[in-house]
């Protein structure tokens, strides 16, 4: 877990690249800065004013001057408070707004990255980037940035004043910035490695936490809670060590930043005394010099804090940009070519190659392999270094036809299906829908044309109605009811709040069979031109399955459908069956034909052992 890969640009550059997110708030930032400088000014003037009151009005026993000067002090005091109020008030909303737009963009970007990307990234690493990393950036943008500037301004102003008081002593005092800077660079080099490491460890820890939360039933059922806790503890302890190392480094750093300006003051005291005895400086001059020099201690101490928070923000920005820089490899065509906009007219004579059949979905020499590196390869690993899952699959589904794809566990059925709505992209060959390569469709359009029913039904945390009508927002009450009926999901009407009952993770939990039926209703209601169903009945009991199969038959009657099944009962939906074996389509035909001609198919479909009982 090295801090940064050799090729990576410095972390500060990453932070700098986030500046567009601050742009909408540049007015607020400018006013924050102005207020901070103003308040700083007022804070310096108030003691001066007090001094002039003491030296002037009071020393001269002039009561008439006392009141106006006192009022001026009150005015300045109120002004300082008001300026600091404005700065903090503005800062709060500006920085929260910046963090929000960064987070929204990150979320939107992640949603557009292909499933393969997400399979390769630990979930906790994504979450920690979207939460604690963005908070680091926010903290720096809020406090760090403004104070970095005010600190530098204060330092410069004080040094200029010191030089005016006594040029050589002023320069000597200002020179202490050199060891400070050298020390800062050394600190920075070590701290950035730790900052990055702790953020990565935070992500790893979040992954363990997330997995334990989502897989708590499995851990309980197998009694593996102690092992999970041991792994978590080991990870948390690794993070503990990094954090303690960070604290040690910070302790050393801050103590030196305390030491340098104070040592400088001790030196000034001695040098100044020498100068005073040599009549190079008046006593009053020395007093003023030292009083002023004391003002340098705070900015240098603050520098330590700012630098640490800046370093954290920078490596957080780097981590966030690692994701933002990953381009989605599955996107729509670069520019919507005007000519290709009406797909319906394109088909004749095209890829159908003069076949009499009206093929709607065509797999043309399709091959697919998962990328070789399980690491977060992102866009880089497109060629697919792994063992190919599909090698030259060619099969077509005619308009209105239902093709059932079957094959042994792990033969690539699901992979084949996912190529149609482009949840993954082919690594060779092409998939055509209505005569057009799926890669030439705008994604949204493709996914409207192609409806997908998953084997593991994913429901969104929303009402049953929203879940079902998602693919068909305009659906009428009757259509919803028809879809629910067809999917044998009328139980939804008996839920506590009927179709308005919230389901999904944040709502009412449904059984596996119920979830599958709601998801099926969703796929049916969308009435897509191509319906792709991945083993849609696996979680249903025999009775329900029978009823759903009946209903599905009529739904599929006029629909182009591609269905994965490995049960004879579901295969019955097919007009034709394709047998996927060894990464290619071994045979296509009717259930009966295949049963007779393909021993492999027969062994997949019959249970002679059981039937014999």
């Amino acid at each position: 877990m090295r801090g940064d890969a050799p090729a990576q640009p410095p972390a500060v550059a990453a932070l700098w690249r986030l500046r567009p997110y601050l742009r909408p708030y540049r007015l607020q930032l400018a006013s924050m800065l102005a207020c901070a400088l103003g308040a700083e000014g007022a804070a310096i003037v108030i003691p001066l004013l007090a001094k002039s009151v003491v030296d002037g009005a009071i020393a001269h026993h002039d009561k008439s001057q006392l009141l106006p000067l006192g009022l001026a002090a009150i005015g300045l005091g109120v002004a300082e408070a008001a300026l600091s109020l404005i700065r903090r008030w503005v800062q709060g909303s500006a920085v929260a707004g910046m963090e929000k737009s960064l987070r929204d963009d990150l979320y939107a970007h992640l949603q557009r990255l292909e499933p393969e990307f997400h399979d390769g990234w630990q979930s906790g690493q994504l979450l920690s980037r979207a939460t604690s990393d963005l908070s680091s950036v926010r903290r720096f943008a809020g406090f760090g940035l403004v104070f970095l500037i005010t600190t530098i301004a204060t330092f410069l102003a004080v040094v200029v004043l010191l030089i005016q008081l006594n040029w050589w002593m002023g320069l000597a005092t200002g020179a202490m910035i050199t060891p400070v800077l050298i020390y800062c660079t050394r600190f920075e080099r070590r701290y950035k490695v730790l900052a990055r490491r702790v953020q990565d460890q935070e992500g790893d820890l979040a992954t363990l936490i997330e997995e334990a939360a989502a897989g708590v039933r499995v851990l309980k059922a197998l009694g593996r809670a102690p092992e999970a806790a041991a792994r978590h503890t080991a990870q948390a302890r690794a993070m503990y060590r990094t954090k303690v190392t960070m604290a040690e480094l910070l302790g050393a750093f801050w103590s030196v930043l305390d030491l340098i300006p104070n040592a400088a003051i001790a030196l000034i005291l001695v040098l100044g005394a020498v100068a005073v005895t040599g009549h190079a400086l008046t006593l009053g001059g020395l007093v003023a010099f030292i009083t002023l020099a004391l003002q340098l201690v705070w900015p240098i101490e603050a520098l330590g804090y700012i630098l640490a928070s800046g370093e954290e923000a920078a490596s957080a920005a780097q981590r966030v940009l690692e994701i933002m820089d990953t381009r989605p490899s599955i996107t729509g065509p670069p520019a919507p070519a005007a000519g290709a906009a009406s797909p319906a007219q394109l088909a004749p004579g095209g890829p159908g190659r003069g076949r009499a059949r009206d093929d709607y979905v065509i797999f043309d020499q399709v091959s697919f392999a998962y990328p070789g590196h399980p690491a977060a390869a992102g866009a880089a690993g497109r060629e697919g270094g792994g063992e190919p899952v599909l090698r030259g699959v060619s099969v077509a589904v005619a308009r209105g036809e239902t093709l059932v794809v079957t094959g042994a566990t792990g033969s690539g059925k699901t992979t084949l299906l996912q190529l149609v709505p482009r949840l993954a992209d082919v690594t060779g060959g092409r998939v055509l829908v209505d005569g057009r390569d799926v890669r030439d469709y705008p994604l949204a359009e493709l996914r409207t044309v192609v409806g997908f029913g998953f084997e593991e039904a994913t429901l969104f945390s929303a009402s049953v109605r929203e879940n079902v009508t998602f693919g068909a927002p305009g659906a009428s009450e009757e259509e919803v009811e028809a879809a629910l009926s067809a999917a044998q999901a009328r139980f939804a009407y008996d839920l506590p709040w009927g179709l308005d009952t919230r389901i999904g993770e944040q709502g009412m939990a449904l059984s596996g069979g119920q979830r599958q039926r709601v998801a099926l209703a969703r796929a049916i209601l969308a009435r897509p031109a191509v319906l792709v169903l991945d083993d849609p009945l696996s979680a249903l009991d025999v009775h329900t399955e029978e009823r759903v199969t009946q209903a599905l038959k009529s739904v599929l009657a006029g629909t182009t459908a591609l269905v994965v099944a490995h049960r004879p009962s579901t295969v019955a939906l097919a007009d034709r069956v394709a047998l996927l074996d060894g990464g290619v389509i071994a045979a296509v035909g009717s259930h009966r034909e295949l049963l007779a001609s393909q021993p492999r198919y027969a062994s997949l479909m019959t249970m002679e052992e059981v039937a014999a009982r």
Binding site: P47, K63, Q111, A236, D258, V542
Partner: protein
């Protein structure tokens, strides 16, 4: 199916996480929550007592040294420089400079010590808190997780704990040095002039009011922040847990709307809290500046009237500046303190949630008869093992409580799933449960694995109530494999080994081979060492199911419960699994739930469930021969195969 009916009937109504979704809690409750958080903090700090003491000492030393610096400079100016000018006597100044150097070094050393020690103590506390919460989450019953959602579980353990960690990373010293400054400078001011000191002390009335107001408001604000933050995380986790569906159904835009709203709530909540902080911090500045002006005017009048010397007023003003500065730092600290406090409040709530499926107070041991002599169940290799355990359901009553709707609508009426369930499974028997969805099959399975406790009656294992068994023993004896084949980040071998962590590579491979998973596993890029990706995303559902099945196989418990554990397999693979089951179930008690009757065929006994009652009970052959429900089911199923 959600939390059991028992859940709400527990303890005082604000216990545990009950207060989580409320920002503005009644005062009495706020006190209660504060006390609970404080109790937890004290408990966490206890092992670090000594270090806390040393840290405190280091902070005091560092603060005193940093206060002494300017004081020594003042002395140097007042009494170190004049002798030099007057007589060239540098000795006093040299002494002062030496003393100053010493304080500077002491300050540096003490600062380094306390920053390091605070880091150690703070991170130690955080580590312990992480461990406790993680472990507690695993002990909380399934029903808790079903209604609490994984996103919340995650947000508690990530951003809430980070808020506490942040408290230790910043400004603990500012509090101590502020208190010290107030004491020292306050005493100095009182000694200088009590009248002016009273003016300054009067400032503490508005300051106290301001602090009281801020505390109340920011408590609410930070509760809101924590809640809004956890909703952001919940939605984030949910989106990327089901990303394929999100993309396939073009849910992205709707999701963005929802996320925008949630993250907007969070941004508003944090903006609100920083505005509160703005008011508080600048309020302190205002009071401080007004006090300076008041002292200036009142002191001026006193001086002019001859009641006060000018020098005293001047020193008083100098002190005053130093008096209020640290208060600013304290307001900053108070802010992160409130953030940590509200996080601690949520976490202490989690830790207060009793595992309703709790460890027994007086654990019973199982009679050591079942496994064959010389073998402990955990060490048994798959294959003929012990005799299994006898499982009995004695008049078990159970029902679920529908989850509360997120916006707090009332829960729907409870339904009983098992009104009065009686079942006796002799050791070594394989029982199949069949019946329509909702008949209660899965509930029976979950009760056997003690995911829930019965509302009435008891479930026993060799005559011992499951509630009296230590968790470790229960999990060794009873393993439940469900259709939900959850894979963890790691390799294929890691995932199989979850069934028995001590298993050797050869045993893992043997288990995989026995159920027919070996072939596909060796075909993976790195064989058994292939990473499965997030949630096993690189494998097909059937492959995941095989791996999760291999866990059961390698765990080889006394009682195996399979709830639709083979539904996603193709027929030849299922056949292999069945052959393997025949071997592994020999000498074990097993309950198999399956829609596919092919799986049922290996059972010694079939139970048909309807509405939580057993309506048929007999051997498969008997039942097929009869004219009951099972005979009908079997006939239909056989027909569906043709």
């Amino acid at each position: 199916m959600t939390a059991p009916v028992t859940a709400p009937a527990r303890g005082p109504s604000w216990r545990g996480i009950a207060a989580e979704k409320v920002d503005d809690v009644p005062a009495s409750l706020a006190v209660l929550l504060r006390r609970r958080s404080r109790g937890l903090l004290v408990d966490l700090l206890r092992p670090h007592r000594r270090a806390v003491g040393w840290t405190g000492a280091a902070i005091v030393v560092a603060s005193l040294a940093s206060l002494a610096g300017p004081w020594l400079v003042g002395i140097a100016i007042d009494s170190g420089l004049p002798p030099i000018v007057a007589s060239g006597d540098g000795a006093p100044l040299a002494w002062i400079a030496a003393a100053f150097s010493v304080t500077v070094v002491v300050q540096a050393v003490a600062t380094r010590a306390f920053v390091t020690m605070t880091g150690r103590v703070g991170q130690g506390v955080v580590l312990e808190l992480r461990r406790r919460v993680f472990w507690h989450m695993l002990r909380l019953p399934v029903s808790f997780h079903e209604s609490y959602t994984s996103g919340r579980v995650i947000s508690r353990q990530t951003s809430d704990i980070e808020a506490i960690s942040a408290l230790f990373e910043e400004g603990l010293d500012s509090l101590v040095s502020a208190v010290l400054t107030l004491l020292l400078v306050g005493t100095g001011m009182l000694l200088l002039d009590w009248r002016l000191a009273l003016v300054v002390l009067a400032a503490f009335i508005p300051l106290a009011l301001l602090a009281g107001w801020f505390r109340g408001q920011s408590e609410i604000a930070y509760r809101r922040i924590r809640e809004a933050n956890s909703l952001v995380i919940v939605h984030f986790v949910e989106t990327f847990g089901g990303l394929r569906a999100v993309q396939a159904f073009r849910r992205e835009e709707r999701n963005e709307e929802i996320f925008d709203e949630l993250s907007g709530d969070y941004a508003r909540a944090s903006a609100w809290s920083s505005r509160l902080n703005a008011l508080f911090a600048s309020g302190i500045t205002l009071v401080a500046n007004l006090v300076i002006a008041a002292v200036l005017i009142y002191g001026g009048v006193l001086v002019i009237d001859g009641d006060l010397r000018v020098g005293v007023l001047a020193s008083f003003l100098l002190y005053l500046q130093r008096f209020f500065d640290p208060l600013q730092d304290v307001s900053q600290f108070y802010n992160s303190f409130q953030g940590a406090a509200s996080a601690l409040e949520k976490l202490s709530g989690i830790l207060e949630e009793e595992p309703s499926v709790a460890e027994p107070a007086t654990p019973c041991q199982l009679p050591a008869v079942s496994p064959l002599p010389g073998e402990s169940p955990a060490a048994t290799t798959p294959g003929p093992g012990g005799a299994g355990r006898r499982v009995r359901f004695e008049s078990v009553r159970f029902g679920y409580r529908p989850a509360q709707q997120a916006d707090g609508e009332p829960p729907a009426p409870a339904g009983m799933v098992l009104p009065d369930f009686r079942l006796d499974i002799p050791a070594g028997q394989t029982v199949a449960l069949v019946g329509e969805t909702g008949a209660g099959k899965t509930t029976v399975a979950r009760l056997m694995a003690r995911f829930y406790d019965p509302l009435a009656g008891r479930v026993t294992l060799d005559g011992v109530d499951l509630r009296e068994l230590p968790d470790a023993v229960l999990r060794e004896e009873v393993v439940l494999i469900t259709q939900e084949s959850f894979l963890f980040e790691g390799t294929v071998a890691d995932n199989i080994r979850l069934g028995r962590p001590a298993a050797t590579d050869a045993e893992v491979a043997a288990a995989a081979r026995a159920i027919g998973a070996h072939d596909f596993i060796v075909a993976l890029p790195a064989g058994y060492a292939t990473g499965v990706g997030k949630r096993g995303g690189r494998l097909s559902a059937g492959q995941r199911q095989l791996i999760s099945f291999a866990r059961a196989f390698i765990a080889a418990p006394g009682v195996l419960v399979l709830d639709e554990a083979t539904a996603l397999l193709d027929i030849p693979t299922e056949r292999l699994v069945q052959a393997a089951l025949r071997t592994v179930l020999h000498g074990r008690t097993a309950v198999i739930i399956a829609h596919r009757l092919s799986t049922v065929a290996i059972a010694d006994r079939v139970l048909v469930l309807r509405a939580g009652e057993i309506i048929e009970d007999g051997s498969p052959a008997e039942l097929i021969g009869g004219d009951g429900e099972y005979a009908d089911l079997h006939a239909r199923w056989a027909a569906s195969l043709a």
